[in-house]
C-alpha cells in the first residue's frame, strides 16, 4: 500500500503537531474532524493536503437543508420522464439504463474514483443531527446503497476524509467516536508571524509587528465577533496599500477587522488601544 505523508506547502504554515496528526489520520485511514474558531485554517488544511499529495478533491459544503442522500447521489427523475416522453435525442442516454440518470454527489464521486482522493465535508455542524447519523456508516464503511436498484457503491480505495466544524452545534457522540478529532487552537503571535510571512513575504517588518500587536490587543478586548486570521491578512494587505505603520493609538481601517455594528460602536466609545475615551 502506498504511504502518504504530508509535509506542508509553501502557502500553508503547518504546526508540527498538526502535521503529525494529519499523517496519523492518513496512515490509519480515519476521517479527521477539525474543529476550531473561524479563520484557523481548517478548510485550507484539507485543500492543501490534497494539493500537496496530488489528490483530487471532492468537497461537500454542508447546508442546513441537506439530507445526506444527495451527498451520495440523486436521481434526475424529471429528465428521465422527459426522455421517456420525448426521446433522449442524440444525448446518448438510454431511458432503460438507470445509471444514465444518476447525478453523483461529492461522496458518490469520491467513492467511485479509481485513485486515492480527498473528500472534504465542510462545516458539518450546519446539518441536522439525523443527517450526521446517516453519514456515520457511510463514512465508516466507505459504502452506500442506491435504493432504487439496491446496488452498493463501495470505495475501492478509501479516500482521505476531512471534516470541519465551526462548533455551531455540538456533534453527536457516535459521530465523534468514528473520527479523529482535533481542535485547532487560535494561532499564537509567533505562529501568526509565520502565517503572515507566507502571505506577505515582502512587507515591511515594522508594519507587520505593529499590525500583529494591535490585532492581538483587539482580540483580547472581548468583542462579539473578534477579528480572525483572514481579517488580519486583509487588513495587512490594505495597510500595505495605504502605506505607513499603523498607530496603535488610533489604528486605521478598523472596519476590516471589526464587522459587527455593536463591536464598532463599543470600539469607538472606548477609544483606541489603552482604553482612552475620545
Amino acid at each position: 500500500m502506498q504511504e502518504y505523508t504530508f509535509d506542508g506547502t509553501d502557502e500553508y504554515y503547518l504546526d508540527p503537531e498538526l502535521k503529525s496528526i494529519v499523517n496519523i489520520a492518513l496512515a490509519m485511514e480515519k476521517p479527521l474532524l477539525l474543529t476550531g474558531e473561524a479563520g484557523t485554517g481548517k478548510t485550507q488544511l484539507a485543500l492543501q493536503v490534497a494539493s500537496a499529495l496530488k489528490m483530487k478533491s471532492y468537497i461537500m459544503r454542508c447546508k442546513s437543508t441537506i439530507k445526506g442522500e444527495e451527498a451520495c447521489y440523486t436521481q434526475d427523475t424529471v429528465l428521465r420522464l422527459n426522455d421517456a416522453r420525448f426521446g433522449p435525442a442524440d444525448t446518448g442516454r438510454v431511458v432503460d439504463r438507470f445509471y444514465d440518470y444518476v447525478i453523483w454527489g461529492p461522496i458518490g464521486q469520491a467513492f467511485r474514483a479509481d485513485e486515492k482522493v480527498m473528500l472534504l465535508l465542510d462545516e458539518i455542524d450546519k446539518t441536522e443531527s439525523d443527517v450526521q447519523d446517516n453519514l456515520l456508516d457511510i463514512l465508516e464503511e466507505c459504502q452506500f446503497t442506491i435504493r432504487e436498484v439496491n446496488e452498493t457503491i463501495k470505495a475501492r480505495i478509501r479516500p482521505a476524509i476531512f471534516i470541519t466544524s465551526n462548533a455551531k452545534r455540538e456533534l453527536s457522540d457516535p459521530f465523534l467516536r468514528r473520527c479523529y478529532c482535533h481542535h485547532i487552537a487560535f494561532p499564537s503571535p509567533e505562529d501568526m508571524r509565520q502565517i503572515v510571512d507566507l502571505h506577505y513575504p515582502k512587507t515591511n517588518a515594522k508594519l507587520l509587528e505593529a499590525a500583529i500587536a494591535i490585532f492581538y490587543e483587539l482580540r483580547e478586548r472581548g468583542f462579539e465577533k473578534p477579528p480572525a486570521t483572514s481579517e488580519l491578512l486583509n487588513w495587512i494587505g490594505a495597510l500595505e496599500r495605504t502605506g505607513g505603520i499603523p498607530d496603535p493609538k488610533l489604528p486605521p481601517l478598523t472596519g476590516i477587522l471589526l464587522k459587527r455594528a455593536g463591536d464598532i460602536q463599543r470600539y469607538r466609545s472606548k477609544g483606541g488601544a489603552g482604553g482612552r475615551s475620545y
Binding site: P16, E17, S20, I24, M28, R169, D173, C181, E224
Partner: protein, 407 residues
C-alpha cells in the same frame, strides 16, 4: 513496534485506559483496540508520537483534552499536574498542593507554617515553578511533586513495558505540550472566561422551551396519511424558533463580582436571538423591593414587576451569595437602600421568585467544592435552599441549562 503491541503493551495500556476514565475521559475498549492497531502499523516511534496518537484515539471533545494531558503526564512521566489553571486560587484546595507543601516542609525547603509566611501568590508561584522545573528536567531531583515522583506506574517503566523512548520526531515533546496547558480553558471544571465562552454557548443552545405543537409538517402528514390508508393524519411539530424569555439578575456589587457580571452578560447577550426577550437587572448582594436596570444601579425598577412575568420565564441570578446574614434575613437589612424596619427582608423576595418561577437558577462564581466552607457559607446555604445553584464552570453552565430546560 509490532511485537510490542502483541506482547507487552496490553497491560500497560489497559491501566492507562482505566486511569483516563478516572480522570473523566470516556475511553472505551474499542479505543484500546484502535491504539493497538496503530502500534502494529508502526505509527509510534517515540513517547511524543504516542502522546499525539493516543490523544487522537481517546479524546473526542475538547473539554476532555486537559484531563487527558494530565493523565498522560501522570502515567508516563509520574508528574501529577493539578486540574487548575496557573493563576487560579483553587490550587490551594488540591491534593497535589497539599502534598507538595508537606514535602517542602519535611525537606526543610520551606519553613513550617509556610502558609502564614508567604503571600498566596508567592506560594502559588513556588508550586508552579517546582512543577515546571520537574517537567523540564524530569530525572532525579528531590523536588518532585507527588510521591517523590513515583506514580504507581513508574516513569522508568517506559522502556521495560514496551514503549521505547527513542529518536527525535521533530515534534515538540509531549511534556512541553502538556506544560502549555493549552486546553485547560475548555475543561469542564474551568471557570467561565472569554476563551471558553464558545463552549458555554454550545451548551446554552440546548436551552429550549416545550412550546405548543402548532406547525404542520406536510411531508410527514402525507406519509402518515398514506400509511393510514388515506385517512388524513395530521402531524404537528414545534416551531424550531420556539422562544423563551429570560431575566438575568446580576450581583455587581463589590470588585469580586465585576469580571463575572461582564462575562455572564456577554454569554446571554450572544444568545439574544434565541430568546423571545431578555432583560438584565443588577443588584447588590441580594434582591429587595428594587433592582436596577443599569450597571451603575441608578435606574431602579420594582422587583414586583419582574414577579409578574410569565411563569415559564427563566430567571438566572448571578452572584456569590455572600453577605452578612442580616442582609438576607432582617427587616430593613439592605446596606444600600434605607428602607428602615418597614423594608421586607430579602428572603421574602427570593422566596417569591422561587415560588413564582419554577425555572429559576443561581449561578455562583465560587467553585462548588468551596461552598460548604467559604466565608459566606451561611447565606450561601440559605439561598441554596431556595434556588438550584450551580458554579460558573463549563460543567456548571451545562447543569444550569439542564435544569432550566426541564419540564
Amino acid at each position: 513496534m509490532a511485537e510490542v503491541a502483541e506482547k507487552g503493551s496490553n497491560a500497560l495500556f489497559v491501566d492507562f485506559v482505566l486511569l483516563l476514565r478516572d480522570y473523566g475521559v470516556p475511553a472505551s475498549p474499542k479505543d484500546l483496540l484502535e491504539l493497538n492497531a496503530g502500534l502494529v502499523k508502526g505509527i509510534v516511534h517515540s513517547l511524543d508520537d504516542l502522546f499525539v496518537f493516543s490523544r487522537l484515539v481517546f479524546v473526542r471533545r475538547v473539554e476532555h483534552m486537559d484531563a487527558f494531558e494530565r493523565a498522560f503526564c501522570f502515567y508516563f512521566y509520574g508528574i501529577d499536574v493539578p486540574a487548575v489553571a496557573e493563576d487560579d486560587y483553587a490550587l490551594f484546595h488540591t491534593k497535589q498542593f497539599r502534598e507538595w507543601l508537606e514535602e517542602q516542609i519535611a525537606s526543610g525547603e520551606l519553613p513550617r507554617k509556610a502558609i502564614w509566611h508567604y503571600d498566596p501568590e508567592e506560594l502559588m508561584k513556588k508550586f508552579w515553578d517546582t512543577l515546571k522545573e520537574q517537567m523540564e528536567e524530569h530525572h532525579g531531583g528531590s523536588k518532585w511533586i507527588g510521591q517523590k515522583g513515583n506514580s504507581p506506574f513508574g516513569h522508568s517503566g517506559n522502556a521495560e513495558r514496551g514503549v521505547r523512548v527513542q529518536g527525535q520526531s521533530g515534534n515538540r515533546s509531549a511534556l512541553k505540550v502538556i506544560g502549555d496547558r493549552r486546553y485547560i480553558a475548555y475543561s469542564d471544571k474551568q471557570q467561565l472566561r472569554e476563551e471558553n465562552l464558545r463552549q458555554a454557548l454550545e451548551s446554552m443552545k440546548h436551552l429550549k422551551n416545550e412550546g405548543p405543537r402548532d406547525l404542520l409538517n406536510l411531508n410527514k402528514t402525507i406519509y402518515e396519511t398514506s400509511r393510514n390508508g388515506g385517512e388524513i393524519e395530521l402531524v404537528f411539530e414545534r416551531d424550531l424558533r420556539d422562544k423563551i424569555s429570560v431575566v438575568l439578575l446580576i450581583d455587581n456589587g463589590g470588585y469580586s463580582m465585576t469580571p463575572f457580571a461582564e462575562i455572564t452578560r456577554i454569554l446571554f447577550s450572544k444568545l439574544h436571538e434565541r430568546f423571545e426577550d431578555m432583560e438584565t437587572y443588577y443588584f447588590h448582594n441580594t434582591v429587595y423591593e428594587k433592582v436596577y436596570s443599569d450597571f451603575r444601579r441608578l435606574r431602579a425598577a420594582p422587583t414586583e414587576k419582574i414577579l409578574q412575568k410569565r411563569e415559564d420565564t427563566r430567571i438566572v441570578f448571578v452572584g456569590d451569595a455572600t453577605m452578612a446574614p442580616e442582609e438576607l434575613e432582617s427587616w430593613g437589612g439592605s446596606i444600600t437602600s434605607y428602607g428602615g424596619r418597614a423594608q421586607k427582608p430579602s428572603m421574602y423576595w427570593l422566596g417569591r421568585f422561587a415560588d413564582r418561577f419554577k425555572h429559576s437558577c443561581w449561578l455562583n462564581p465560587i467553585p462548588k467544592e468551596s461552598w460548604p466552607n467559604t466565608y459566606g457559607a451561611f447565606t450561601l446555604t440559605k439561598i441554596r435552599q431556595c434556588f438550584h445553584m450551580e458554579d460558573m464552570t463549563l460543567g456548571g453552565i451545562k447543569g444550569m441549562v439542564n435544569f432550566l430546560s426541564e419540564k
